[in-house]
């Protein structure tokens, strides 16, 4: 029997992986992907809870999250394109003209 807890544990693992990736990777593109992982984890939670509670709110909220995630990705990728034009790199460590 697959309970809600199964989904929640899975989502927690996914969230943690997203955070770890964000901390260890310096490539902007990969960092953006890790953020998407975190949002997906939150969505898994929302849907699982929605089913548990028999409440549509979670599903509706997940629609918003997906839409906003797409918008975020578009803007993030826009920044990447501009960055590459200017500095020829997507390395976050090298995006540093100001001191610490």
């Amino acid at each position: 029997m697959i309970t809600t807890t199964h989904y929640l544990v899975l989502s927690l693992i996914l969230f943690t992986l997203g955070v770890v990736g964000l901390m260890v990777r310096r490539n902007f593109i990969t960092v953006l992907m890790c953020i998407e992982l975190m949002l997906n984890a939150a969505n898994l939670n929302f849907i699982a809870f929605s089913r548990q509670l028999g409440d549509l709110t979670g599903q509706v909220f997940a629609v918003f999250v997906i839409t906003i995630a797409a918008a975020e990705a578009a803007i993030g990728l826009g920044i990447i394109v501009a960055l590459v034009r200017l500095k020829q790199t997507t390395d976050l460590d090298r995006v540093n003209v100001m001191e610490g």
């Binding site: 918003f64 999250v65 803007i75």
Partner: protein
Amino acid sequence: MRPDLIALLPELVLAALAMVVLLAGLASGRARHGLLAGGALVSLAVTALALWYAAAATDPAARLFSGMFALDRFAVYFKALFLLSSALVILLSVDYLKRNDYRPGEYLALIMFATVGMMTMASGVNLAAIYVGLELMALSTYILAGYFRREVKSHEAATKYFVLGAFSSGVLLYGLSLIYGTTGTLDLGALTRALAAGKPATATVVGMALLACGFLFKVAAVPFHVWTPDVYEGAPTPITAFMSVGPKAAGFAMFLRVFLGGLAPLSASWIWLVGAAAVLTMIWGNVAALTQDNVKRMLAYSSIAHAGYALVGLVAGGAAGVNSVLFYMLVYTVTNLGAFGFVIMLESRGYAGETVTDYAGLARRHPGAAFGMLLFMLSLGGIPPTAGFMGKLYLFAAAVEAGYVWLVVVAVVMSAVSLYYYLRIVLQMYLRDGEGVEPAELVAAPWTERVIWACGAAVLVIGIVPAPFLAAARATAGVLGLS
């Protein structure tokens, strides 16, 4: 019209006019900065009128759009504050846009869309509405941070702001999902009832903590402040000015509404968290600002420190705490925009304008504006008879009343420390003669100067006759479920 739509009128008007400005901007290209900025200002004014009308026609206790939206005095106050700060930011940007020859249409529209987002945040009484408002504001601000694309620093600012902002949104969202799952609702009122019913589940507390982390990031509190100095320094100064007031005030509106409203029954769990963040923020913000030579960076740390003071008001809670934060946001907005206005004026005057030593002898060359800057620095430091003093007095009084005397002691000692770095600027302007620091080119920045004058006058007026402003920031008791 339906009451829902009347209440939403300001947002609708502003969003519609933002699209008009956007299209007009597309049609006119790089030209007509003045006209477009004028249009944006008129739009904000019209929105203010709509707000006035909507506030008069709406029952403050009503929960509209299926319980998503409230137009109570809390919301009206913050919306008026957002409109004011956006208008001032636009005025501060006019000279900058013109001089650097960037397209004004998208820029102005983005500021207006961000304002719509902030207004939604202030009115939202459902976490879904607050979240989408927050994202609208955040996404617009990411773009604005990177708007001036020929500047390398601007890119760095946009990149850092985006990565950390998106990260914090993810954390916040995860916290939201936990709160939703364990209480079964996103509505703040229902949340209070659900939480008051019994001992909260572990997952609820974890969700609350994650939510708090996300919020602390949005108001740039320690330890979630690391993005602030780089972003403030790198972003074009008008945008830095915008980020330091509008989104910060919106962050506090959301913080107050969610933590003192919805999550109030959990206060035993979050009060030490927020209190600790307040202490760390005040100490770290002020101490780090002491050693900054770059004025924008210094102002960034100073804005971190001020978030710490405002958090003291949140910790104090109660009607007094809420009112004091509201009043403080007004004080902070006019003061900080004035200070950034001065930095912008110097930049447009062709000074290097960023390091402290560029300020040498300005009191002789620009006595009026320098006097304004003196007022802003004193106000940020909390010296009477400026607005900053009244703001802090009110804030600290609320905290003492709530019994957080130790927190206030930290706050007052740190605000004494802060005078050291605010006086450094005053010292350069007034006490050094600044021979040899001459402007490279003299470009008129008439609107920027007018903003400095207006903010300076406001700082003095609020400092000497605070009563009407305090009255405006009042009457919010009961709104957040407090009495």
